[in-house]
Every structure is written in structure tokens, then in C-alpha cells.
Symmetry: C2
Subunit: 342 residues, 2 copies
């Protein structure tokens, strides 16, 4: 069945004309679908991530139910981190928790460079199975160096990123060593996913918006550029996403991703003036809007579509699907996007 390279989602990534705006949702695999929650009752998240049959099952569920234009590999950004030698757990209601966080140069040495075929074969096996079965493109994914580093250093989710920034400012040599190590491993991981058949790749830098533009340039952008540049020869779309990135959009565009994910804080027409004409925008309905009555959701979706102007636009939420979301709303949202015309 393998999806055609002419699929609507891939055409939009490349800036080609489309018959309708393509749509998928971050966290569409997981969170709110009852068929996913049924799997989760029997298996912890990291066990699902390590079991190709389960990955295939939960990755496919939203494609079947919602009619989205792309599948995204079910996984977690900490999967390669664990495979690099870091003990961690994902705790319900909290997120990733790392008992022995990284705080200095010796700690960075605990991170073994990732060898995808040896360390995460289950991810590649899941991808190989999925791409033969799916009739929409499969998006592979990985966490970006800053966001991964924030979990490694804080030991879990953070509001202020105080420890991460302290390391960054106090010991730039160790920081750059950590960025290099992560960039190298994320690059291998994403290349291996593409070789296994993923037809697009999304780099999740969810928390990068915590940085000033100056810090982004000096301390994070080189690692992102190394990954995006190192994927360029594959010829498949590279998507870069973070929240609160309004003040960074011109810098992000300069790193030459094919697609930039935008949160709801910056209307797409404004974002377009910041990133220029040669990049596709992905977004940007506030996930909380999906909790509103349908007429409100529909009106807001139309606003996003109008601001996206039907060209170089992939409809998505501005961040992941909230757990409280009714899947029927997502299904109607897909229909709304597909039936809209510029």
C-alpha cells in the first residue's frame, strides 16, 4: 500500500499545489482515542514504544478513525535517550523522570552515541511494517538537542529550565559537548528512520521557546542546523517544531527546514511574513479550542485556514492533542479542513 510520494501531505511539504489542505494532529497517536487507552491499560508507554506490533497498532489507529493525511510514529522523545544509557521512566501525569540527571562533563560521557540498528531496532522494525501497510505517509520523529537536554539536566519537566540554563551559561564547553553528542545521535536516529521508510521527519524542539534569540543563536541553533543539514541529502521533508517560538521564527527559517510548526500565538499570515515564502507552515489551532462546542471549533479552523491561504500550509494543532479531547471533534475537523477551499 505504501503511500505515494505524490500524497497531499508530501506535496504541501514541498510547496506544490494540493487538491485540499492536508491535516494531521500532533499526539494523534495516543492521548484521547479510546482504542489507544485500551492498549495503555495493558502496557506502559515505554513498553508500547519498544514493541513493533503495538507501535504499528497505535500509530495506525488515528489514521483509520480520523482520516488524517499523515501518520506519525508512536514513540516518545526519550526513547533514544534511554537507549543511550540513561535510566528513566515516564510517570503518568508528570512525564519523563530521570533519576540521575546530567550536570557536568563526566555525566555527558554516560551518554553513549546511539547506534540505531543495535539500540532501537524495534523502532526501525515498526517503521518498516507501517510503511508497507499505511496508505498515508509516515512521519518519523525525534526530540531536538535543547529539548532532550532539558529533560536530561532537569531530571524531568521544568517551568524555568533553571538548571539547563545554568549549565549553558556556566560551562559552555560541557554544554556544547552535550549538544554535539545529542545532535550526532538524533541525526543517526532520524537517518535510520528514513532508511527504514519514514517519508518525512519531525524534529520536536518543544521547549526551545524558553530561550532568548541570542541564546538560541549561540547555544542551540548550531546543533539544530547540524541535524537539518545532515538530513538534507535524503530528499524528504524535515519539519521543525516548538512552542512559544514567535520571537525565534526568522532564526528558525534561516536553518532551512522544509516545514516549520507554529503554535497558536502567531497567526499564520504573520508567521509567513517572518519565515518568507519558501517554507511550509504547519499549524496552528489552539488545542484547547477542540474542547469548545463544534461551531466555535469550526469557525476557528476556518480562521486558521484563511490565514494559511491554502498554499504551503499543513493544518495541525499548535501543540499536542489534549487528553480531554473528544475524537469526534478531531474527525469533524479533518472533514472541515478537507472541504475548505481558498
Amino acid at each position: 500500500m505504501t503511500a505515494s510520494s505524490d500524497a497531499r501531505f508530501l506535496r504541501a511539504c514541498r510547496g506544490e499545489t494540493v487538491d485540499a489542505v492536508p491535516v494531521w494532529f500532533m499526539r494523534q497517536a495516543g492521548r484521547s482515542l479510546p482504542e489507544y487507552l485500551a492498549v495503555r491499560e495493558r502496557h506502559p508507554i515505554l513498553e508500547i514504544c519498544r514493541t513493533p506490533e503495538l507501535v504499528a497498532q497505535v500509530t495506525t489507529q488515528p489514521v483509520d478513525r480520523l482520516g488524517v493525511d499523515a501518520a506519525i510514529l508512536f514513540s516518545d522523545i526519550v526513547v533514544p535517550i534511554q537507549a543511550m544509557g540513561i535510566d528513566l521512566d515516564i510517570r503518568p501525569g508528570i512525564g519523563p523522570v530521570i533519576d540521575k540527571p546530567i550536570r557536568n562533563a563526566q555525566d555527558v560521557d554516560r551518554l553513549r552515541p546511539l547506534e540505531p540498528h543495535e539500540d532501537v531496532p524495534f523502532v526501525l522494525e515498526a517503521i518498516r511494517g507501517l510503511v508497507t501497510d499505511l496508505d498515508v505517509p509516515l512521519i518519523g520523529f525525534g526530540g531536538a538537542p535543547f529539548t532532550l537536554a532539558s529533560y536530561l539536566i532537569e531530571g524531568g519537566p521544568s517551568r524555568s529550565f533553571a538548571r539547563t540554563k545554568r549549565l549553558m551559561y556556566s560551562d559552555p564547553a560541557t554544554w556544547h559537548k552535550l549538544m554535539d553528542r545529542l545532535a550526532e545521535s538524533v541525526l543517526s536516529f532520524l537517518r535510520a528512520q528514513a532508511e527504514a521508510g519514514a517519508q518525512a521527519l519531525q524534529l520536536f524542539d518543544s521547549w526551545v521557546g524558553a530561550l532568548s534569540p541570542e541564546d538560541f543563536d549561540a547555544l542551540v541553533a548550531p546543533a539544530v542546523q547540524r541535524i537539518l543539514g545532515g538530513l538534507a541529502d535524503l530528499g524528504i521533508p524535515r519539519i521543525y517544531f516548538g512552542v512559544n517560538t514567535g520571537p525565534l521564527l526568522d532564526r528558525i527559517a534561516a536553518l532551512d527546514p522544509d516545514v516549520v510548526g507554529i503554535d497558536w500565538r502567531v497567526p499564520l499570515d504573520k508567521a509567513r511574513t517572518r519565515v518568507g515564502p519558501d517554507v511550509t507552515l504547519q499549524g496552528n489551532l489552539d488545542p484547547a479550542v477542540c474542547l469548545a462546542p463544534w461551531p466555535v471549533v469550526e469557525e476557528r479552523a476556518w480562521e486558521v485556514l484563511r490565514a494559511g491561504a491554502g498554499h504551503r500550509h499543513i493544518f495541525n494543532l499548535g501543540h499536542g492533542v489534549l487528553p480531554e479531547t473528544d475524537p469526534d471533534v478531531l474527525e469533524k475537523l479533518v472533514e472541515t479542513v478537507h472541504s475548505w477551499r481558498p
Copy 2:
């Protein structure tokens, strides 16, 4: 001793020339000072807030130790909420927790309009004492309607503000009723603080950056405008602050505050182009920078000062002092700001 209306901080608020850039720090009263922590060992936060002698003591501590150009009343944004009839607690490491959150129109009726002289006399008494003793201006403060509503509806701190936004989108009548009730009470509260002697007022809308510009305009700005407009005749500076407000800055400036607080995500020279020449900017060193070695802090402070250009600029952090901050760094930062010349 009452501070002169010619004080450096007030002159900068009004856009007059200053002999040096004024500086104070959000959360300077509290968090990291050992003399504050000694008080906290004996008294819970809300008890301090309700005891004028303790408020005076912890409000004055950072002025004495750090040499800042303004004092900010020690209090918490939930103090008036509690006085309006809502049971709440401030839990260490979490923040405000409300057992019976507001979820519908009947719940909004549980919020009695605030009568400052009856409900929070201790705040006004603390202010009257402070302004006779302090030789720098005292900033009074209150939470803004959106940020207060987010605690009332979520029942505590939130990342997604899902419940708040659900109410906003699903039941705009109840939302506006809540905004009106809060705006009215916050306005009375701030007017009473000014009458008691506060020489400037800061409206904390810390979480307003979670909103899209469109939602800000339609659902929040009218309540902010009602407060700022209702304070205008007092003739004292009105400061409006939130984080992640980059995409909202032009809208915030249109509400006509005298001073706009800016976080570290938007350099002050960029912020200036967004808000125009007639407003003072307050900020915007990343609080995490204060955890770095001194030469890094100094260099970053100079960058903020250069971007602020020495006119209509009040130096501050981009958010509150982090608990891990060494007070000696804050003290040196004050000296650095005062000795800098454009």
C-alpha cells in the same frame, strides 16, 4: 522619609531623564534572601501577607540589602481572591491550590465583590506604614483578570490552561461575567493601594501569553483596559506585565499602560519598535542568567542596558527571581545597572 515623586524609578516611568537607569526585581521580596527565609520558617506565606508588620519587614529587606530603586509590596495575587470568599492555600513547590474551582455561572457568584477596606485592611495598613518608612517608591500590585481566572478555574497552576480556555470558548457569558467581577475588584484593590500611599501599581498578568492575539483582544483586553483606564485619574504609573507576550506587545501598548514589562524572549530594542516611543519598558534579563558566573551576568546585563538605550527603561528580570539565586549577584547587578551610562 516618604520617597520623592522625583525618584529615579518614577521619573523613568514617566519618560523623564534619569541620572542612572533604575532597577528593581520581581520577587525581590521573598524567594532567595536569607532574612526572608528566616521569616518563612516561622510563618506560612498567606500569614505573612495578612500581617502588616511582617509585610513591612519582608518588603523592606531587599531595599536595604540590594539598593534597588523601588520596593514592591510583599503579597500574593491570590490574597484578594481569598478575601472575596474563595478557600485556597499556597502549597510549597506547587503554588496556589483552590479546592472548589470555578466552573460555571453559579460558581462566579461565590466571588463577592472586594471591599478593600473591609476585606484586606491589612494590605492597606502595611502600605501606610511602608510609605512613611521607605525612601524609595512603593509599587502596589494585583493579579490581572485572566491570570486570576486561570487559578480560579484550573484550581492551581496549569500548563495548558485547558479548563480556562474551555470555559472561555464554551460559555462566553460566564467568562465575561467572571472577567467583569475580577476587573471591578482588582480596580478597587489597586485604587485603595494608591490611596494608602502606593506610588506605582503593577498589574501581573503572568500567564496572558498563553492566549492567541485574537483571544486576547476579544476575551481579556476589555477587562485589562477597564482596570488601566480606571486608574488613569490617579496620575501614578501603571505597569502591565506578562511572560510570553511577544506576539501581544502591540495590543498591550494599545491599552495605554505607562510601563510594559517584557520577558527575555524579545530584546528591548525590538520591543521598542512594537510598543512605540511613549511607553517605558521594564525588563528583561533572563532570571536564569543570575545563576551564571558573574562575568556572564555582567555582560548580559550590559546587553539589556544597551538595548534599553538608557531612556524609558527600568531594569528588571524578565520574570521573578529564581529561588536558587545568590543575593550577592542581585546586589552586584544593581551596582552594574547604576554605574552604566548610555
